[in-house]
């Protein structure tokens, strides 16, 4: 190849390197039993980061855009799949199955992680919104919510899908007679459950008014104890609903979710409290959650508060010790200058053929190098330099 500018060649060079690596690694991935989808995701992540770094001129631009869009969709679909998977356990309708088939297999691999990631955001959101279950129910204008969740699903054959919106907040929207996705808020299982039920209940009648309703996460289940279990929990809760007698949709869901939470050892006393409070069947509670009708709930609340206080005390003790240490560290002679000298951003990584010195004149013969200068990447096959020390 003739002398070509290193800067121009870079995109092709990098592209070819990426292709080579991905192809070589494909076998490794298959041997490990890792899906091809993950390999593609690796490639996408890799190329995206390169684009973001702006060290290389844009390449794969159209493909990148398509891949990014596909990646987002895949992520959303993954969550949907999570929901669907659980639901299918109970009621597998043909339509549901068909939808699952369409969805990428990636769902199996990272469902919970996504849930986990989103949970903190959701928790914050939940705390911020402060809507109670009753408020939500009122908003949705639920009928005397008698129909249990399961029936809602089967009768309509709809599938609840969870979608993660860009900002991490999810909403549940279910459209009647359409098995399209509901955007569900990724919340700890309990929160999702009531929302779902509430949405489903009115939908049973195919009421179009519900189609556009966006439900925000409810406080029915407290976030603090319930993180992570997320949609899988909810789904499991829904799955278990089959065994429950018809009751309020929200109550049943919350109850099941709570059972799940207990089983998983992440009980949120307040959630239970609320669920239990809502248990009285046939009546739609509109005066808000947080009933204190049962003594057990009060005790659990007190225990929970005590734990918090203990943790706070511990943190206070540690802070006191930390404050003392910096006093001594000021005695050191600053070594940072040496560190800064070697902490440059312009880096050349290469191999040397010959390094020569005469008195204080240095000559460098370098080869096969990648340089990052002023944020931009360059490559060279040979480099010759002079410097005086």
């Amino acid at each position: 190849m003739a002398n070509v500018r290193g800067a121009v060649h870079k995109p092709k060079l990098y592209k070819s390197v990426i292709e080579d690596v991905i192809n070589e690694v494909r076998e490794l991935f298959l041997d490990e039993g890792v899906d091809e989808q993950v390999l593609l995701e690796l490639k996408t992540l890799w190329e995206n980061k390169l684009l973001q770094s702006k060290a290389v001129e844009g390449f794969h631009t159209e493909e990148q855009a398509a891949l990014q869009a596909a990646a987002q969709q895949q992520q959303q679909q993954q969550q949907q799949v999570q929901v669907q998977q659980v639901q299918q356990v109970q009621h597998v309708t043909q339509q549901a199955q068909a939808q699952q088939v369409i969805l990428p297999p990636q769902q199996q691999q990272a469902p919970q992680q996504q849930v986990i990631v989103q949970d903190p955001k959701i928790l914050q959101h939940m705390n911020a919104t402060g809507m109670s279950a009753a408020a939500t129910a009122a908003t949705l204008a639920l009928p005397t919510g008698v129909t249990p969740y399961q029936q809602l699903i089967t009768s309509q054959g709809q599938i609840l899908q969870v979608v993660r919106a860009a900002n991490g907040a999810q909403y549940i929207i279910q459209q009647p007679q359409q098995q399209i996705l509901l955007q569900q808020q990724m919340q700890p299982g309990g929160v999702q459950a009531p929302v779902i039920q509430q949405v489903l209940a009115p939908l049973q009648g195919g009421i179009p008014q519900q189609a556009g309703v966006i439900i925000q996460p409810q406080q029915i289940v407290l976030a603090s104890g319930n993180k992570v279990q997320g949609s899988t929990q909810v789904m499991q809760a829904m799955a278990q609903q089959q065994q429950q007698q018809p009751a309020q949709a929200a109550a049943a869901q919350v109850q099941q979710v709570q059972q799940l939470q207990q089983a998983q050892g992440a009980a949120a006393p307040q959630a239970q409290q609320q669920a239990q409070a809502q248990q009285p069947p046939m009546m739609l509670q509109v005066d808000g959650a947080g009933d204190t009708s049962s003594e057990e709930d009060e005790d659990e609340e007190e225990e929970y508060d005590e734990d918090e206080e203990e943790e706070k005390d511990k943190d206070g003790g540690e802070d006191g010790q930390v404050e003392e240490e910096p006093l001594n560290s000021g005695d050191d002679v600053s070594d940072e200058e040496d560190q800064e000298l070697f902490d440059t951003e312009n880096v050349v990584v290469c191999q040397y053929d010959k390094i020569h010195r005469s008195k204080n004149k240095w000559k460098f013969h370098l080869k096969d190098g990648i340089m990052n200068l002023n944020g931009k990447d360059y490559v060279f096959s040979k480099a010759i330099g002079d410097a005086e020390w």
Partner: protein, 124 residues
């Protein structure tokens, strides 16, 4: 085995970050990620040796030099990098160079290998 030298480049770092993300979400194992990086080392070494054919000259003042474990590390100031058409100036640049003669030495952790001619060895 190729040099792991090139992992600390834009290309290498973005690959490592991507692999870390996949490990975080448990889509791949750390072992697999390591295999990927080893494969990357081979690919980048081959690509640089075969697909790049250009020369660069540079001139500057040497601030520090270090030769340890057969690896040269220089810090130059006020450097001009000149290619046929390009000129790039930087205030400070760090050059890390592994031995280009014997590919048998893998990564930098090869302390006990007998080097060729004795060179100035300043291990700070």
């Amino acid at each position: 085995m190729a040099y792991q030298l090139y992992r600390n480049t834009t290309l290498g770092n973005s690959l490592q970050e991507s692999l870390d993300e996949l490990i975080q979400t448990q889509q791949i194992t750390p072992q697999l990620a390591l295999q990927v990086l080893l494969q990357f080392d081979k690919a980048i070494n081959t690509a640089l040796a075969n697909r790049v054919r250009n020369r660069v000259n540079f001139r500057g003042s040497l601030n520090t030099y270090r030769f340890c474990d057969n690896v040269w590390t220089f810090v130059l100031n006020d450097v001009e990098f000149r290619e046929v058409t390009d000129l790039v100036k930087v205030d400070k640049v760090k050059i890390v160079a592994c031995d280009g003669k014997s590919e048998s030495t893998q990564n930098k952790s090869d302390k006990w290998s007998v080097t060729q001619t004795p060179q100035i060895s300043v291990c700070l």
